[in-house]
Amino acid sequence: MDFTVALAQIKPKLGCLDDNMALAEAAIEKGIAAGADLVVFPELALTGYFLKDLVPEVALRLDSPQIEKLKKLSERISIAIGFVEVSADFRFFNSAVYLENGEIRHVHRKVYLPTYGLFDEQRYMARGERFRAFDTRFGRIGMLICEDMWHLSAPYILAMDGAMTLLCLSSSPGRGITESEGLGSAAAWQKLTTTTAMFLNCRVFYCNRVGYEDGINFWGGSEAISPSGEMTDRGAILEEDFVLAKVDGGALRRERIFSPMMRDENLAITVKELKRIDREKDC
């Protein structure tokens, strides 16, 4: 089926849940008005990124009024959005929730929490333990949060779990200025999104935020990538944007006929070899 995905390239305020909820609601309404079927937000869209000790203060339970409100809105448009989730045992996760038809369809807790260079996520947050694809009205989807995508195994697992659409919610800081046209971090991501789509014959939707936090910029450049690895739509660099990407449903079918790598992918060999590696590691 053909459908339209909106990438809400917003500029969240650091630690301001109410303001960011208002931003999200405005973007959702905009998506509905524009005829979009799914709206994707950045990582930690409801909170901002460099939270540090604010993490517990902005964390939401899955039954919080904010998530309830988004659930209600998902009766009119499907929503993927990032926030800090607090579990019943008071662990805090960098999570993304997928809402559709008034229900929570899936929650992904970021597995790979970067803690190097300018990142310090694992100091403040707990690590997710699984990658799972899930069913939606657009077929099977897999969600990744930023750094997750830099681990080859993550999108691979989702694709093997049947995902044909990958959503990546991101808060990627811009860095690495050189003489080339774009920032180093932007160029690296652009390679990654297109290559991932090409390897797995999946559509990729990448939503990155903009704005500055303590002098660190987030570069935007949200993208829609076709299953052949072509970038079809891209948001503004360093500025707020609202990208509407029309998905040609047939392109995925055609790509999978043309290059049936996923059909031929041998899960049994992969599992066998990974098990062997794991076994030998323990020796």
């Binding site: 301001c16 604010l54 200025i177 050189t178 080339s180 046209e181 500055y212 002098g215």
Partner: protein, 273 residues
């Protein structure tokens, strides 16, 4: 060399966006800066004027009686070409009054006192006009510690603190800073004929080539020597970087509680913004 050459269009976009975003989110619309007549403050004035509009930029030239008159002329040239607010506030009376008490002070103490005098004036005007003080120290100076703590190093926001002097030159060209300002020898202008490079004992270009590899690329001493740098120069610069590190940090606090500011009480400065 490759790494120091930057895409000035993109750099300009990031730095202009930074000033606009970080000033507006505090709830003010204006920027305040000291305009010395040198290239660093000229570049910050260009960035600020583009970010906030020239009418929202307040520049102050604060000469001492021994300052080179050319400096004030260059500051004025920059302000006039941008159409920003400009005022000359001479610091001679305050400085001379202070040094009548301690007349034996050497050049370094006098220079530091002047830098701090200028800082107090900028912060006073920051309150007067309702704007943030914009820093004008570049990455080369900050790494070498070639600045006065709580003096010219003090600011609310610094758009050029992560770009080397060589990159300041390139961006200044791209943004149209007057050539007189770009081409003259960098000077702290504390006494007649003083130049930074003479005082440092090496050129900014040399320092940038080394610092870029040492800091940004984390090359080891052996790798730097293999790349052709003189071991004595490497050690001299490395010593300056380490020796001045205190200038780049907040004062350290004696920890006694469970939650000490900046140690385990950690919030971004943009907390709630």
């Amino acid at each position: 060399m490759g790494g120091l050459t930057v895409n000035t269009k993109l750099l300009r976009q990031i730095l202009v966006g930074f000033v606009r975003d970080e000033v507006y989110k505090v709830g003010v619309r204006k920027g305040v800066l000291g305009l010395s007549g040198g290239i660093d403050s000229a570049l910050v004035a260009y960035i600020a004027a583009e970010a906030l509009g020239p009418e929202n930029v307040h520049a102050y030239c604060m000469p001492y009686r021994t300052s080179n008159p050319e400096s004030e002329a260059h500051a004025r040239l920059v302000a006039e070409s941008l159409g920003i607010n400009f005022k000359v506030l001479e610091i001679t009376p305050m400085i001379d009054a202070y040094f009548t008490v301690t007349p034996d002070a050497d050049n370094m103490r006098r220079g530091n006192k002047m830098a701090r005098e200028r800082m107090t004036i900028l912060y006073d005007h920051s309150a007067a006009v309702g704007g943030l003080v914009l820093g004008t120290s570049n990455k080369t100076e900050l790494l070498l510690g070639y600045g006065t703590l709580h003096g010219d190093m003090a600011s609310a926001l610094n758009p050029i603190g992560d770009i080397y002097k060589s990159q300041v030159w390139a961006l200044s060209e791209a943004m149209g800073v007057p050539h007189e300002v770009i081409e003259k020898k960098p000077s702290a202008d504390l006494w007649a004929g003083q130049t930074d490079e003479q005082e440092l004992g090496f050129t900014y270009r040399e320092a940038d080539e080394l610092l870029y590899r040492m800091v940004d690329q984390r090359m080891s001493r052996e790798e730097l020597i293999a790349a052709g740098f003189d071991p004595a120069f490497i050690d001299n610069v490395a010593r300056k970087v380490q020796g001045s590190h205190f200038k780049r940090r907040l004062p350290i606090i004696a920890k006694v509680s469970n939650r000490t500011i900046d140690r385990d009480f950690r919030y971004a400065r943009d907390w709630g913004k």
